[in-house]
């Protein structure tokens, strides 16, 4: 019996929008050449940024945001040092308040596949292409992030922002995502 739950591909985009890793695990997506993948990564990087700026949701009421930090500091009186708390509260109370930080595209659905995007705090994006039926894609993509941390970032011979050519990472990702 053929399962319909498949991971098609994994792409890693560095913080400048360059493609540093691509690997296909199962057929199902169209075959693209490496140049097309590079263009795709750059395009997605741009759209991700735009999707943050077109956020139509009204910001949460400012009164609650100004109250929250004070209540949280009250609950942890000994832990927070004195100087930092005034700074965030003053920016929150500022009339020209900034919009809260938005995440950008987290998941995209089309009729043939689903794309789950995970952005690390340092701006590296993990794009996981799966079939629409695949559950728990956010867990899978986080696991890939952990592997990247373990095998790529801890590799002393890896230079930052460069294409990932790490054999251990290849093996780990393959063992995790390729179906037997």
């Amino acid at each position: 019996m053929i399962s319909t739950r498949v991971v098609f591909a994994l792409l890693i985009i560095n913080k400048a929008g360059g493609l540093i890793y691509t690997r296909t695990f199962a057929p199902g997506l169209q075959r693209l050449d490496s140049n097309d993948y590079l263009i795709l990564a750059g395009t997605f990087h741009g759209i991700h940024a735009i999707s943050r700026s077109i956020n139509p949701a009204p910001p949460p009421p400012s009164s609650t945001t100004t109250n929250n930090p004070s209540s949280s500091t009250n609950s942890l009186p000994t832990h927070t040092p004195a100087p930092p708390p005034p700074a965030p509260s003053s920016t929150a109370g500022n009339p020209t308040r900034k919009r809260p930080h938005t995440t950008g595209i987290e998941s995209l659905e089309s009729s043939h596949f689903r794309l789950t995007c995970f952005q690390s705090p340092t701006g590296v994006k993990f794009l996981l292409f799966t079939s629409p039926e695949q559950p728990n894609t956010d867990v899978v993509v986080r696991r890939c992030y952990e592997m990247y941390g373990d095998y790529v970032m801890k590799n002393p011979f890896y230079s930052l922002e460069m294409p990932v050519r790490v054999e251990k990472f290849e093996r780990a990702v393959g063992g995790y995502l390729v179906r037997p």
Binding site: L29, Q30, L32, D36, L40, T43, F44, G46, I47, I50, S51, R52, S53, I54, N55, P56, A57, P58, P59, P95, T96, R97, T102, T103, G104, I105, E106, S107, L108, E109, S110, S111, H112, F113, F129
Partner: protein, 167 residues
């Protein structure tokens, strides 16, 4: 669920209808005094005009996003693949393209499910009935002419209220 905004784009990529269902915060009022004290004051743009500019810019950005994502989906999934929706932590964008290349875009809160049927209903029961069949509406809606008529506006308003109550 809450609906944030709704856009219709025609086949010439022009935004022929847009509607916002939420009030945007009005920082211009608070920043205006500060802006007038700046050396480049004097050329202050009225808040209403700035809002209109921002709305049209937003519509262009929405179209650009949708257009690129649709192209990306076609490239990866094959020619018959359709872009359906994307989700961020703050909102979700739903997309429907009709055979006449009319594009309907709906932005809602992120928790809602598939809104494709809803968009299709808007197109079939509101757009076709009140705009396409209207004898006063031109075939090409340049600059949104003939789209924002009373019946369509009213129908859309009622339809959205129904949706928000249902969910």
């Amino acid at each position: 669920m809450s609906v944030y905004s709704f856009y219709i784009f025609d086949r010439h990529t022009e935004c022929i209808y847009s509607k916002r269902f939420t009030q945007q915060p009005s920082p211009p009022r608070t920043t205006n005094p500060a802006a007038s004290t700046l050396p480049n004051g004097g050329t202050t743009v009225p808040a209403s005009l700035r809002q209109a500019n921002k709305d049209s810019d937003d519509a262009k950005l929405v179209f650009g996003t949708v257009f690129s994502l649709r192209r990306m989906c076609r490239q990866l999934g094959g020619v018959d693949d359709q872009f359906l929706s994307y989700r961020t932590a703050e909102y979700k964008l739903h997309y429907l393209e009709t055979p006449t290349q009319l594009r309907l875009v709906l932005l809602t809160s992120p928790q809602v499910g598939n809104m494709r049927t809803v968009l299709h209903q808007i197109w079939a029961t509101l757009f076709v009935e009140y705009v396409v069949k209207s004898p006063l509406a031109p075939t090409e809606h340049q600059g949104g002419r003939g789209v924002g008529n009373e019946l369509f506006e009213e129908g859309l308003e009622r339809f959205m209220q129904q949706q928000q109550q249902q969910q």
